[in-house]
């Protein structure tokens, strides 16, 4: 009980001050049948050293030391050391939502900077302070499009991350949002003719991901033109923000739903991450999530506050734009520090390295006789059909401590024994060569 800043003598004194003689009296108003009459069946408190030993053993069963070529919405990018140094300051990670701006200016200013950098990066005019992650951000973006357009139809590319689409399906399953999914062509990109045919006067939004789930680049302008011609909005989905160091920003989109994990947030077995929604200024009152704005105090000094909160659940309750009550602030802070560290030049260079590594890997696979699918421009992921099924290479891969990529059959049966391979800047040429040899 080392976390409790008290002792039995102090407890006794406090009880006496409250006018009681035993702790049980504090719980005596709880009806008897609601009281647990036995200790919890959980081991007694353990020492810190024991806890570390337990987790080390667990970590050892979780592929430490493996080189992983799995991306698919969670990307291994190098995390500068000072990132954890900074976010581990108690003033950052033990604070809460900045409800009291006078003693929360650190959090508030950092969010204002975050919103600004997201706007600069995406070419959008406003960005919120953060959402849970990319998958739930897509759902929030769709709901926002429905509010803005007064329509309910969703047209969603099948080349959007399959789990994002599953989340959208779950969260809308009891409301009326008819959703059409649009397939992809032989080049891995959205089937433009099918998209054009699916969009109509009831379409609220067209959602497209680029780089898409297969790593191929989509054409934002074309997708926007198709959406706008029917009066619908374009939602741009981005699963790795590092891509924006090099790729054209989705300026043509009306709403951007982006996962930020690639910006210094640990891959960490799937979370916590942070998503964002960015959009046009004219839609700001339909945005979900927190927003920080600039304000002045009585002496004219600049400060920052949570603003436009009349959109949010604690004020609007059932009429709120969303039920979300968090902005994943610490993850957003990691992204801010990452963006500040790489900066204007670094983000581009980082993206160029990712591009080059994946291009090298794709040509190495092609040269080895494997089939590289979807020959259109890509970023740091591509789909490859190995010479033999992945299962046949399993022991060679384990021995080489390699994780080859994500088998796609479960998500896209038509792609058969193919694998989605991701190559970031953290992967060396030697590791790429080893992977190609092992498959």
């Amino acid at each position: 009980m080392r976390y409790l800043p008290t002792s039995d003598p102090i407890r006794q004194r406090m009880l006496a001050d409250v006018g009681l003689t035993s702790i049980d009296e504090l719980f005596s108003h709880i009806p008897e049948y609601c009281r647990l009459q036995r200790p919890l069946n959980i081991p007694k408190g353990q020492a810190e050293a024991d806890i570390i030993r337990f987790f080390r053993a667990a970590a050892a069963e979780n592929a430490p030391g493996f080189t992983s070529f799995v991306g698919a919405g969670a990307y291994h990018h190098f995390r500068p050391t000072h990132l954890d140094t900074l976010i581990s300051r108690g003033e950052w990670f033990t604070a809460y939502t900045p409800y009291q701006p006078e003693i929360s200016q650190g959090t508030l200013q950092s969010i204002f900077e975050f919103q600004t950098m997201i706007c600069q990066l995406t070419g959008q005019e406003v960005a919120n302070a953060g959402m849970y992650d990319g998958s739930t951000a897509l759902h929030e973006a769709c709901m926002m499009a429905a509010r803005v357009t007064g329509r309910s139809g969703m047209v969603v590319a099948r080349s959007i991350h399959p789990q994002y689409r599953e989340v959208l399906r779950t969260l809308t399953r009891y409301r009326d949002f008819p959703t059409a999914e649009i397939g992809f062509g032989a080049d891995g990109r959205i089937d433009v003719d099918a998209l054009r045919a699916a969009v109509n006067a009831s379409t609220a939004a067209v959602a497209v991901q680029s780089p898409n789930f297969f790593g191929n680049l989509e054409d934002w302008e074309q997708a926007a033109e198709i959406a706008h011609s029917a009066g619908a909005l374009l939602i741009a989905v981005i699963t790795d923000p590092v891509s924006l160091g090099l790729l054209p920003p989705p300026e043509a989109a009306d709403i951007v739903a982006m996962e930020l994990q690639g910006f210094g947030i640990p891959v960490g077995f799937g979370g916590p991450y942070a998503g964002i929604i960015a959009s046009r200024e004219k839609f700001v009152r339909s945005l979900p999530g927190r927003l920080v704005g600039e304000a002045r105090d009585s002496q004219g000094r600049r400060g920052f506050v949570l603003t436009l909160s009349t959109r949010e659940q604690h004020i609007r309750r059932e009429k709120a734009t969303s039920n979300i009550c968090t902005n994943q602030a610490l993850c957003a802070l990691m992204a801010s520090i990452f963006m500040a560290t790489y900066g204007k030049q670094g983000l581009r260079e980082l993206a160029e390295h990712n591009l080059a590594k994946a291009a090298y890997a794709a040509s190495a696979f092609a040269a080895s006789g494997a089939e590289v699918l979807f020959p259109s421009p890509r970023f740091h992921e591509f789909v490859v059909r190995p010479k033999r099924p992945l299962a046949a290479s399993k022991s060679a891969l384990r021995k080489a401590k390699l994780i080859a990529g994500l088998p796609l059959q479960g998500y896209y049966p038509e792609l058969g024994e193919s694998v989605l391979v991701c190559v970031t800047e953290t992967i060396s040429r030697e590791d790429i060569d080893r992977l190609v040899a092992a498959l």
């Binding site: 409790l4 108003h29 033990t94 650190g106 009585s298 603003t307 039920n323 009550c325 670094g346």
Partner: protein
């Protein structure tokens, strides 16, 4: 103790411009390893990112360190923000989360290479089920509000399978705003349930409103007034008799762990906030984590994948035909599972119970020491938090928000202001088990001094805070003409 020493004093508080104002062309804070493959050019690459920062590594460190010093955290002192359970965040939880294999484990790596992560999830699930007395659990929801949504979707799926999804969700007027917002997203209309003079559910109203149209009652227990719903069994029976389900918002589980289990008092489905009860850090506003625990009848509907044990090994089960589907990509906020599990292991059954007892004792101590100067709208026994109202001070023109701001001058983070909505001018204080007696005494003395000031020098309170880096900000002007991002040459633009 008549004139307390304020906890706050003056120290260096540095000014720090925005990152974009610190930035200067050509500076860099990074270096990439030499590229070991041929460089590639991309046709149609973007132009440079306009006005994106360019700073050195040291400037990054100083910038974010200076900003941090303008914050207040649990590490700084007592953080009695009611309903948020601002407890100590142990460092070992951070360390184990970052271990190689866990911190960099990929959620889609092969299951046989993820046994450690799955075992952590399995053990946490077991402990949370023991703590809540429920039958099955999903760790997937990303936060409390998403847990609520998941829970209500489960209810809807089960009722739909029974043939009638029903139309409404009943929510007491003292509930968190997320409850009604959630019910609306699940396609339900929200009906308000009034509290009785004790601050608990009014049984007559419930009897009248709990019709065959009602899918669920969403109840927080202890409720947001810090009061245990003593009629909980009658409430549960009534809801069940009429074919509805009882949803419990577990935001206030810090009052119950080791002492009382929702599964034993009729709850069908509930969420936990790992960032409240189980000490995962609040992080300035997230990330949270909101596992949802259910009774057997709702288990078939849990989000996929469901974690099971098969031949002694944890496995992910995707073949769940009745599942509502995924609510989030991957498995939820895994980094919060490691932290919560480390917290439970450190405390153990004995420590968890002691924690609950200290949290409740602390709230009652504060209540006892302040109830003669602040109005207590509900004299019903308090659990882990106490809600006063500003009604005595309001007569002098001093309101709960003013008292909160003045507390900052004394060196404390304020309590929760103006919530729950059922109390006019609410002052919601939750010291948690992490407040020690000495600091609570200082906090109590500060509030008593502010009560005096409210009588004698009310302008001192209404003008607070006086000692902070900035004073009260004009939030109305900020919302009327929102400036939500920095832009270059703003002053030139303003003049033109």
């Amino acid at each position: 103790m008549t004139s307390p020493t304020p906890r706050a004093s003056r120290h260096i508080v540095q000014n720090e411009d925005l990152l974009f104002e610190v930035s200067s062309p050509g500076k860099r804070g990074y270096q990439l390893p030499a590229l070991d493959v041929p460089a590639v050019t991309l046709a149609g690459a973007r132009r440079e990112i306009p006005d994106f920062p360019e700073v050195s590594e040291l400037e990054v460190i100083r910038h974010f360190t200076r900003l941090s010093t303008w914050n207040y955290g649990v590490d700084t002192g007592i953080y009695p923000l009611g309903s948020c359970t601002m407890k100590y965040n142990a460092r070992v939880n951070e360390a184990v989360t970052r271990l190689e294999g866990l911190g960099d484990g990929h959620p889609l790596q092969p299951e046989e290479l993820s046994q450690g992560a799955l075992r952590i999830m399995q053990l946490l699930s077991e402990y949370l089920l023991e703590i809540t007395g429920m039958d099955a659990i999903t760790l997937q929801p990303a936060a409390g509000a998403q847990g609520e949504l998941t829970g209500i979707l489960l209810v809807r799926a089960a009722l739909t399978a029974r043939g009638d999804a029903r139309k409404k969700v009943l929510i007491p007027d003292s509930a968190h705003g997320t409850n009604p917002a959630t019910a609306a997203i699940a396609g339900y209309t929200v009906e308000n349930l009034k509290s009785n003079p004790d601050g608990t559910v009014d049984m007559a109203s419930l009897d009248r409103q709990m019709t065959r149209d009602v899918a669920a009652l969403m109840l927080t227990n202890p409720n947001t007034l810090g009061i245990f719903e003593e009629d909980i069994h009658r409430i549960a029976d009534l809801v069940h008799e009429r074919g509805g389900m009882l949803y419990m918002d577990g935001a206030n589980m810090n009052a119950l762990v080791g002492r009382s289990r929702p599964g034993d008092f009729g709850v069908d489905v509930m969420h936990l906030n790992l960032h409240k009860t189980f000490s995962t850090p609040h992080g300035g506003g997230g990330p949270g984590s909101g596992p949802v625990a259910v009774k057997k009848s709702l288990e078939p509907y849990l989000p996929i994948p469901v974690l099971r044990v098969k031949r002694g090994k944890p496995v992910l089960d995707y073949r769940r035909p009745k599942s509502i589907g995924r609510v989030r990509a991957f498995y939820g906020n895994f980094g919060m599972f490691t932290r919560a599990l480390a917290y439970i292991m450190a405390n153990g059954s004995d420590g968890l119970k002691q924690t609950t007892e200290d949290a409740v004792l602390n709230a009652n101590y504060i209540r006892r020491k302040l109830q003669d100067v602040f109005a207590l709208p509900y004299p019903t026994p308090s659990m882990h938090e106490v809600v006063f109202s500003d009604s005595i001070q309001a007569a002098q023109g001093v309101h709960t928000g003013d008292i909160a701001k003045r507390l900052i001058d004394y060196g404390f983070h304020p309590y929760t202001v103006s919530f729950p909505l059922v109390v006019r001018g609410a002052m919601m204080i939750e010291p948690t088990e992490s407040a020690n007696q000495a600091e609570m005494d200082e906090f109590i003395a500060a509030l008593r001094a502010i009560a005096e000031e409210s009588k004698n020098t009310p302008e001192l309170v209404t003008g607070a805070p006086h000692t902070t880096k900035i004073s009260r900000l004009d939030e109305v002007a900020a919302a009327r003409n929102p400036i939500l991002r920095w832009r270059p040459n703003k002053s030139d633009a303003a003049q033109s």
